[in-house]
Symmetry: C2
Subunit: 443 residues, 2 copies
């Protein structure tokens, strides 16, 4: 009886785990439905290449070498077009070079006697494999050609090794290269023409989304912290902590940019879009996210902001917060739609003016607060100092987005917006305090 | 004449680039001489396996399958033992499973008619490749079994594809598995027994070095900022900016821990050392590094700390700084030598006491500074607030290292140190303000 119950428990446990895994799988698919499409694409490519092989008409004479076609599909097919093209090009060129070097070396060695040939080949394989492995440590090579060097070593060794056994080296090299090209072509075709995933587009959207997340945080922070609205706090807390993903985005950005550099012109993106400028925007965004993280810690601290005499400072802080939020969100939209940001300069100028006013306010007002406890002011000063930092970060982000918009030739904003912009901008520029790269520091 | 000069220019340019690359290569080798050793090891393994093939005695009957041995060496041989073992185990198990499934499916399908067989095999390859590709998106699977799934798809497809052509499926599966085992065994043997590089040891050292870098910064900061020593500034600035590498160490730590988990017992490290606790220490160290980054920005700011009436606050700040530095450096030594830290608690208590004193000082002293400009105090308050944050970070790091020392069973410190410790600790505990996880916040 007990053992049967135990069995039932085990069985129930197993079913529970299966259901859990199924739910995880469903969640993964909902997060990004392109994952499901990608899996089906890989299945399609592999079974297509296998069927070609099965019906034998195109592989006449390839024999065992045909397995390289299947192998290429499995190994080269990656999630994004850029990653696939990068691996494919690496593999094709490396196979060509490795094969050519292998054949050439084999020919050279064959002029010597049979015993010396073996020594020459052994030493060459040792030397070339060692040097190529060492080259893989160069950071720039590692980022873009790591896979190519691996395949180079592989092909070179295989050609040399098979060269030991018979003289069909050139035939083998030819077969290997052509089957790899067939597999590679099938992969690239399916990857590019069936629901393609462009790394460049993802990188573009990620950059815009990260800037937007900072704006969303500042918007929510201003509402909750300065106006003390607490309703619907569940949803709002979620929207407030979105920015946290920005903190750890460096790795993703670096790999996306490496993939994007392989991609041809597509949609709104040219071949070699100024991706490095995107990286710059990304790193400034991350810098700002760290300041925002510090501000967020203030939100959770038990001490509430004093709501009494320092209304003026609070007003200025709130102003900085909302203007930065508006500026960041507009920048995000500008990146996303690839139109030049039109009203962002006025928001930046407003934020800078508020920061300037805050500085002079602190200078003059201090004499008005003679009997105040210093410890009570610290929270307010911390907020003010962080917000001033955030303003200067926003200025830097704005500058780098302006640079991006000129480098990637963003569209001009629509006419009606333009008119609004120029009049606003004129008004704004008159109150401007120096150039965009001007940074405000209270300390 | 001009063209000959141009030629010379080109030639000079080429030589310049070659010399530059050679210098880079030398630098890479000096940074970590194990890179050179690794390259030679890979060359050795590949040429050894090739020579076996050449002399034909062990490959009697393997024929073309022997290439899998060379291939396995090239693909599996990684820099650290953990990465190599991980890839090797993944490859062996995946080949076994993929091969078995391929053979089983082929047998099942062969009961049907020839035309249906082709459809069944095609659909199965499609389904299994799709599902396996989808499973690779699970984050936990991706971290440890990504390579295994790739090889599973590969072997399964290859066995099925070759199954179409002739009935030597089992023979092929057997040959593929045994040559992979030969290649894998050679790789693992050379990787483990010739100058092994242990990912676990590297991770251990990295954790200690990162904690140490924070201590070095605080030491230098205290000297330069509070005592204003400026001599030998070139060297000191270099030592001050060492901590910056800690900020971006998350990626390296994550990959090292993934490798370390594959490694067997070696030296002072058990199989499955509590690596996750190391990760925890690492993430707290990084948190502290961000505070230190903010402190570093203060060092470069043009405003100098006021050196007048606020000597008391400066003294306390300097005290916090130096005690945290001592604590962190001792923790680093403790991790490095795997001995329990002995005097660290007293430093932590001293730092906490200084922080407490600073708080009360700010409370009472503010009334003593009635006519002071608020803007003048802000730099000092910012320093104080940052240093108090750093003290609380140090407390957290200390706690996690204590936990690590009990989990990994660190050695007890030598006798003479023990005596010093217990007396100090007793003195320390009596002035202790709460438990170790007590965090001090001014705000």
């Amino acid at each position: 009886m007990a053992s049967s119950q135990e069995e039932k428990g085990c069985f129930g446990n197993l079913i529970g785990r299966i259901i859990g895994t199924a739910k995880d799988a469903q969640k993964l698919g909902k997060e990004d439905p392109r994952r499901i499409v990608h899996s089906l694409k890989v299945g399609l490519a592999i079974s297509l290449v296998s069927l070609f092989y099965y019906f034998d008409f195109s592989y006449e004479g390839f024999g065992v070498s045909a397995m390289w076609a299947v192998m290429t599909v499995v190994v080269v097919f990656e999630f994004s077009v850029g990653a696939t093209l990068g691996k494919g090009i690496n593999r094709a060129i490396a196979t060509l070079l490795g094969g050519a070097l292998g054949v050439a070396l084999h020919r050279l060695a064959s002029f010597a006697g049979e015993k010396i040939e073996c020594v020459i080949l052994g030493i060459s394989v040792f030397l070339i494999a060692s040097v190529a492995t060492y080259v893989r440590f160069f950071p720039k090579v590692k980022a873009r050609f790591d896979y190519g060097l691996l395949i180079f070593i592989l092909t070179f060794s295989l050609i040399s090794v098979s060269g030991y056994r018979d003289d069909e080296v050139i035939d083998m090299a030819y077969k290997r290269l052509s089957t790899i090209l067939i597999g590679g072509a099938a992969t690239v075709f399916i990857c590019v023409f069936v629901c393609p995933v462009w790394a460049g587009e993802d990188f573009h959207k990620l950059t815009a989304a990260n800037v937007d997340k900072l704006g969303i945080f500042l918007e929510g922070f201003e509402r909750e912290y300065f106006h003390g609205s607490k309703k619907g706090s569940q949803d709002k807390t979620a929207s407030l902590s979105q920015y946290k993903s920005v903190l750890n985005s460096k790795g993703i950005e670096d790999s996306l940019v490496n993939f994007a550099k392989w991609e041809p012109r597509h949609g709104k993106f040219r071949y070699r879009q100024p991706w490095n400028q995107y990286l710059k925007v990304g790193s400034l965004t991350r810098e700002c996210a760290y300041k925002i993280d510090a501000l967020n810690a203030r939100l959770n601290s038990s001490v509430q902001a004093p709501m009494e005499a320092r209304a003026r400072i609070q007003e200025l802080c709130s102003k900085m917060c909302s203007e930065c939020s508006l500026a960041l969100r507009e920048l995000a939209t500008a990146i996303n739609t690839m139109t030049r940001p039109s009203t962002v300069d006025s928001h930046v100028v407003n934020a800078k003016t508020a920061a300037q006013k805050l500085k002079s306010c602190l200078k003059t007002k201090s004499s008005l607060w003679p009997d105040m406890d210093l410890l009570d002011v610290i929270p307010l000063l911390t907020d003010a100092s962080l917000l001033i930092d955030i303003v200067s970060c926003t200025v830097k982000i704005t500058d780098s987005v302006h640079e991006l918009s000129s480098k990637s030739k963003f569209k001009a904003p629509p006419e009606n917006k333009m008119a609004k912009q120029t009049s606003r901008e004129r008004a704004a520029r008159s109150t401007s305090i120096g150039s965009h790269s001007f940074t405000i520091t209270v300390e």
